[in-house]
């Protein structure tokens, strides 16, 4: 159990800087998830914490102790790899016991420890098998078990579920969440699956090109994205962006004249914005409704996806170059080419300035959430 503190962590590969000064305080027992587009440095950051990559600049503390110079085991971390990386020539038991054997524990000492972990992960009947005789899910359990037997202070996971099929992924996700509750150990988890991030995380760290874009609870990131990048990254289908200019500022927020001609009002605090400023309105697909209302966007149905629990409508409209995505109730009798009008409530909209920074929204985060602010 330990807090992890990153202070200005930089990582260079040769002359190329991959991480540009990462500052992050991870609390004891917290479940932190790193997300971000491919190549943004998630794995590099995780491997730097693990000690598999040397940190070029900055300080890493685990449990209040500087660990930059320590090898992985001495940092008290354990890591689960995306490819599992089980030792193919060893049985499951030997795989689990490998680290304990290296630590010069006697067989009598580590056998009960290994068996107990195997029971927790329900792989105790597989102990004599070789990895190639296991299914993907079982291999993943062994990989997790190998991390658990080490009793680390911090668990690191690099996309541990990405090789599993959808249903197994859901099952393992629930088990990892359970594991975190039981062990109450600090966990750092890399994924690019948003559902994993939203369901597992206490706090999510959104990375882009080696920098932190925002840190916050899942609800916070969803309701109060700090910038256009985070807003577009979280949620699927992703948020619709409508470019325009500020037409009017009043006590109800800002009225934006969209480039497509329509005028929409958005409930955000204007801050220092002035009429005429270039802005971008953001609306999530789930907040668009097929009805006349306050903020209307007209267009032509381009594609309709029936997902069973909902219908996703792609609307070609004058308001944006890209088709607008709208998540609508299931089984709507829409077809290609239909003229539709979508609307959204002013309090559901987001507004971003020309640099992509979000305006502060007036509406509070819906009740039953405990968002704390950690925006950077």
């Amino acid at each position: 159990m330990a807090a992890v503190s990153l202070k200005g962590i930089c990582k260079d590969f040769g002359t190329v800087r991959t991480l540009h000064g990462i500052d992050l305080e991870i609390r004891d027992g917290e479940f932190i998830v790193f997300v971000g587009p491919s190549g943004c440095g998630k794995s590099t950051l995780l491997r730097s914490i693990a000690g598999l990559e040397e940190i070029s600049e900055g300080e890493l503390q685990i449990d209040l102790q500087r660990v930059n110079e320590l090898p992985p085991v001495k940092r008290g971390i354990s890591m689960v790899f995306q490819s599992y990386a089980l030792y193919p020539h060893m049985s499951v038991f030997e795989n689990l016991a490998f680290g304990l054997r290296l630590a010069h524990k006697s067989k009598a000492e580590y056998t009960p420890q290994v068996e107990q972990v195997a029971r927790v992960l329900q792989i105790d009947h597989l102990l004599t098998r070789k990895p190639k005789e296991l299914s993907g899910g079982q291999r993943q359990r062994v990989a997790i078990g190998r991390a658990i037997v080490q009793r680390p202070k911090v668990f690191l996971f690099d996309e541990p579920l990405s090789n599993l099929d959808a249903s197994l992924r859901v099952q393992m996700r629930i088990e990892i969440a359970k594991l975190h509750r039981e062990l109450a150990t600090t966990m750092i988890y890399v994924t690019h699956d948003q559902v994993e991030a939203m369901t597992l995380a206490d706090r999510i760290v959104v990375l882009r090109a080696g920098r932190i874009e925002q840190v916050g609870s899942p609800t916070e990131l969803y309701h109060r994205p700090a910038n256009r990048f985070v807003a577009g990254f979280m949620g699927s289908p992703s948020m619709n962006f409508l470019p325009g200019r500020i037409a009017q500022i009043d006590e109800n927020g800002i009225v934006v004249a969209l480039s497509g001609g329509a005028r929409v009002s958005v409930q955000v605090a204007p801050g220092r914005a002035l009429p005429g400023d270039e802005v971008c309105v953001g609306v999530r697909p789930e907040h668009l409704h097929l009805a006349a209302g306050d903020n209307e966007l007209a267009g032509e149905a381009m594609a309709i996806e029936q997902l069973g629990d909902s219908t996703v409508l792609y609307l070609q409209s004058a308001a944006a170059a890209e088709p607008l995505a709208a998540r609508l109730p299931p089984l709507l009798p829409l077809s290609h080419g239909d003229a539709c009008t979508l609307s959204f409530a002013p309090h559901h909209a987001h507004l971003f300035d020309v640099t992509g920074k979000a305006f502060e929204r007036m509406s509070p985060i819906p009740a039953a959430t405990t968002g704390e602010s950690y925006s950077l």
Binding site: A50, L52, P71, P72, V73, I77, S78, M79, F81, Q82, S83, Y84, A85, L86, Y87, P88, H89, F98, G99, L102, A103, K130, P131, K132, E133, L134, G136, R139, R146, Q150, N163
Partner: protein
């Protein structure tokens, strides 16, 4: 393979088999010829493949026994063939071990470590290996002559010198093993390091066991290479007692008298350790040792 096949497939199979068998016979012929010569009375290189009478005279001599020929003369074994065989096996085993040790460690460095001149080093290794050893025989002789002045057991006419000379030829083995290491994901060793292994322990406990099949192959190749090598051994070894079988058997073929039969028996003997080692090593040369560790 119970795939559905075209009718013309059978014809193709037959043709392919006929071709393969013909090729096999062609490659087997010299070997069968040698076997035939070694079992034939007298010392003749030519003759029918299946000898009319079978005589074990050459084999007796090769195995160190005397025999009485047709005229009642007792013929003693002219050369210590079994001793040469032992020399060969000893040199080959030590060479193969040294080669394996050097080439795995170098291959590890080339596959996993980052250092300046890595690419250059790899190409240089190959280039050096392309230079035929025969052309450097004089140099080799001179070098070991000089070394012998300081370290007698590495000088001319010592087995140490032959082993040292052979151990220089590891470039291809380094390439082979490096190629295999490259196919093993680095995550395997990283997992070991996270588990608390040192770099050496990760190499020893994880990488080497996974590379066992290729290590067997390299050991075998180095062993065969050392058993059959002639030019270098022939200039480094002089006394009859010190010769390897490959060099020694040449003594059967002196100008006036080619003892083909005795030579053939010795030649077959020299193939024996290779066959034996192969049978033993085959157990570990199975594929798929490394499967199952990563996804899939």
């Amino acid at each position: 393979m119970a795939m559905v096949q075209d009718k013309s497939h059978l014809g193709k199979i037959l043709a392919a088999h006929a071709g393969l068998i013909a090729f096999l016979l062609l490659t087997m012929f010299p070997f069968l010829m040698i076997v035939s010569i070694s079992l034939r009375p007298g010392n003749f290189a030519s003759g029918s493949l299946i000898p009319d009478t079978i005589s074990f005279e050459h084999w007796k001599l090769a195995l160190g026994f005397s025999y009485t020929d047709a005229s009642g003369r007792l013929i003693a074994p002219p050369f210590p063939v079994l001793h040469w065989l032992w020399n060969s096996v000893k040199i080959a085993l030590i060479t193969a071990s040294v080669v394996l040790l050097l080439s795995t460690t170098s291959a590890y460095a080339f596959a996993r470590l980052k250092f300046r001149g890595k690419e250059l080093g790899l190409s240089a290794l190959l280039l050096v290996q392309m230079f035929p050893a025969v052309l450097s025989l004089i140099a080799i002789y001179a070098i070991f002559d000089e070394i012998g002045n300081y370290v007698p057991w590495l000088g001319i006419d010592s087995h140490g010198s032959v082993i040292l000379a052979y151990a220089g030829g590891i470039a291809l083995h380094i390439w082979t093993i490096k190629g295999y290491f490259d196919t093993i994901p680095a995550e395997m060793e990283e997992a070991a390091i996270v588990d608390g292994a040192s770099h050496f322990q990760a190499f020893w406990h994880v990488l080497l066991p996974m590379a066992l099949p290729i290590l067997c192959v390299v050991f075998l190749l180095a062993f065969i290479g050392a058993i059959i090598e002639y030019p270098v051994a022939s200039i480094l070894l002089h006394q009859e007692q010190n010769l390897t079988l490959a060099v020694g058997s040449k003594l059967y073929l002196y100008e006036q008298n080619y003892l083909w039969g005795d030579f053939a028996a010795a030649a077959i003997l020299s193939g024996l350790p290779i066959t034996l080692l192969f049978v033993v090593a085959q157990r570990w040369m199975v594929n798929g040792l490394s499967s199952g560790g990563v996804k899939g």
